[in-house]
């Protein structure tokens, strides 16, 4: 039973990380109505820039600030060069554009910063402590606290600030938001910037665990089932979906894997997601619209 719990807990921690990545998608989906495939490339870009700066002897927080600034610049550029020209186009076109964008971002990142694997030390030991027979890593705990803090900050921002309310307004009814003078380009820039900074945090936490390298950008594929389960437009959903997928994958690998002779986590999340879709087509927290004719 301890084994089960350990697996479950490990899965939940992993899931929280998935959730963290998924938050970036949710923000952008709410503001721009697109599944941003380039989010993974943004995670990679942020982490690689950060680690390169740190390797050049720049202080942690200075590097963090500088990378955040770069993510804001990236957001502004994306808004001007991709989103604005593609306004009012169908979601699939937007999705394809973000696919193209992911090529541009990860190509440019590697062009300028190279393809080496970098070690990233964020100063948290990844050592397991014994909690009454359960081994839990200190890194996991601190990383989870960071994720929780980030979610709390975002929750406060969304409920209390003008920007937050504007974003929710845009997500809810874009036309009405425009009608009262909310400027979509501004919202887009802000949201993509915030998503960029979330990508940076995700990049640091993932990068600290697996090294900073190209495969960081593959987290995109983990995020999709998370979003389907949680709903594309809900931050609590992203976290819950992440926990579901993380725990489900870990348990499936242990208990289902041996039955079919291999690891199942590559597709398990998707099957879980499709099963969810069939039961709740809008995800756990999503809202479905009625079609008017």
């Amino acid at each position: 039973m301890a084994y089960f719990f350990e697996t479950l807990i490990a899965g939940l921690f992993a899931g929280l990380m998935y959730g963290l990545v998924a938050i970036g998608f949710v923000l952008i989906y709410k503001a721009s109505g697109v599944f941003n495939f380039a989010q993974g490339a943004m995670v990679f870009l942020a982490a690689l820039v950060f680690v390169t700066l740190v390797e050049h002897g720049i202080h942690f927080w200075v590097a963090f600030a500088a990378t955040s600034a770069l993510m804001v610049l990236t957001a502004v550029a994306i808004e001007a060069l991709v989103l604005r020209p593609l306004r009012n186009r169908d979601p699939l076109t937007l999705f394809m554009a973000t696919l193209g964008l992911s090529f541009v971002i990860d190509g440019a990142t590697q062009f300028f910063l190279g393809t080496d694997v970098h070690m990233l030390d964020v100063g948290i030991d990844d050592i397991a402590d014994d909690y009454g027979g359960l081994f839990i890593s200190r890194f996991d705990i601190i990383a989870s606290l960071i994720v929780i803090a980030l979610v709390a900050v975002l929750a406060i921002v969304f409920s209390k600030t003008r920007m937050g309310v504007s974003l929710r307004a845009v997500a809810d009814d874009t036309l009405a938001a425009q009608s009262i003078g909310i400027r979509l380009p501004v919202i887009w820039r802000i949201v993509w910037s915030v998503a960029g900074i979330v990508a940076l945090v995700a990049g640091l936490l993932w990068g600290a665990r697996q090294g900073v390298q190209y495969s960081l950008s593959l987290v995109t594929l983990k995020a999709l089932p998370v979003l389907i389960i949680g709903g594309f437009s809900s931050i609590p959903g992203a976290i819950t979906g992440g926990l579901f997928v993380g725990a489900g994958e870990a348990l499936a690998d242990i208990y289902l894997g041996p039955l079919v002779g291999g690891s199942v986590s590559t597709w398990f999340a998707y099957i879980l997601a499709v099963a969810f879709l069939l039961v709740r087509p809008a995800g756990l927290f999503g809202d479905r619209d009625i079609e008017r004719v």
């Binding site: 193209g100 541009v104 590697q110 879709l277 087509p281």
Partner: protein, 355 residues
């Protein structure tokens, strides 16, 4: 009875062609056949056949397959490569385990297997729509990659889980040479294009487009939306299955689960978007773009002679940036894809000829 359009002047393009369409079409088909079966094999080098023409044709066919589903029936698939892999693995096992089967039969059976799988993964289309549907097909993508790596039976226990193309022959006629493989590809493609035209011009195609344009109205008119959607998945997957066989056997000479990965699915998606939705020939423009762009960029750099022992990595990353940028550019400037260019060109030309 008097009609209303006496008072309503109608403007805009008509669906009919100004010159006699039947003659034009026949001429086009005949020219294509002469070029495809006569001119190309006669003049193309092995390099051109093996690394440019064959992959372009096969990828164009993949584009047609997805276009049937996406452009005509309005359904989404992010897992085209999975259905291609089902095709190639079934063809391989058919040839291996029933060597008596002639190649055409193998191709059809492989297509049918893929069609069955397509129907299964299309089932969620009955409940969910749009981008969410992508998730199910993406699930197929990962599932089959897993299946073919996890069960070595599919690759006849080969060491690297890679299957190697069987000898291609048709009634004793050897198709191993580049020209032979080309002829196989072009014949199958021609037949499938014909099939695709039959499909889109039939009641089935019409009802797909009806569902695509306005699903509620279609169901209100009695279109059997659910079965039409599954038929779309079936036919598209049938095409993809055969495409997969050609890709593996006639082009690569090998296949493994990794060959048909997500990147390939996205490439097929790009072909449809770049070539244009709901077109047949546009897909070949899209495919040519996908196949040629990296090679062209590579050659441009080579001929500029800066590549010699310089950092090829930087160049390739630069290519990636350029490729991504071109995709975004086309999406912005040409919502209808590259086939709009030729259509516009032809129209302009026709207009000039008329005056």
């Amino acid at each position: 009875m008097t009609t209303l359009q006496d008072t309503v002047p109608e403007t805009g393009p008509t669906a009919s062609i100004v010159t006699n369409p039947a003659v034009l079409r026949l001429a086009l088909v005949l020219t294509s056949i002469v070029v495809a079966f006569g001119v190309v094999p006669a003049i193309a080098t092995d390099y051109w056949l093996s690394s440019i023409i064959i992959p372009t044709i096969v990828m164009g066919l993949a584009g047609i397959s997805l276009n049937l589903l996406q452009g005509y029936a309005g359904l989404v698939s992010l897992g085209s490569a999975a259905f291609m892999s089902v095709g190639v693995f079934s063809a391989y096992n058919l040839i291996l385990r029933a060597p008596a089967l002639p190649l055409p039969v193998v191709l059809v059976l492989a297509g049918l297997t893929a069609a069955g799988v397509g129907i299964f993964f299309g089932l969620p289309a009955l409940r969910i729509k749009g981008f969410y549907l992508g998730a199910s097909t993406l699930g197929a993508q990962f599932f089959f990659q897993w299946l073919f790596t996890n069960y070595p039976w599919f690759s006849n226990n080969s060491q690297s889980l890679t299957i190697s193309a069987p000898r291609l022959e048709f009634f004793g006629y050897d198709l191993q040479s580049p020209v032979g493989r080309y002829l196989l590809v072009v014949t199958v493609t021609a037949l499938l294009i014909g099939f695709a035209f039959l499909v889109v011009k039939s009641r089935l195609g019409r009802e797909w487009m009806a569902i695509r344009d306005m699903e509620t109205a279609a169901s209100v008119l009695g279109v059997r939306v659910a079965s039409r959607k599954l038929q779309a998945y079936a036919i598209s997957s049938f095409f993809l299955g055969i495409t997969g066989v050609l890709w593996g056997f006639a082009y690569l000479g090998t296949a493994d689960a990794h060959t048909y990965n997500l990147d390939k699915s996205f490439q097929v998606l790009f072909i449809v978007l770049i070539g244009g939705t709901a077109t047949i020939f546009g897909n070949f423009l899209g495919a040519a773009f996908i196949v040629l762009t990296p090679i062209l960029l590579d050659h441009l750099v080579l001929s500029a002679n800066i590549a010699y022992l310089s950092d090829q990595g930087a160049i390739t990353n630069l290519q990636r940036v350029i490729f991504g940028a071109i995709i975004i550019f086309i999406l912005i400037k040409e919502p209808d894809g590259l086939s709009a260019w030729t259509r516009r060109g032809a129209e302009a030309l026709r207009a000039r000829l008329k005056t």
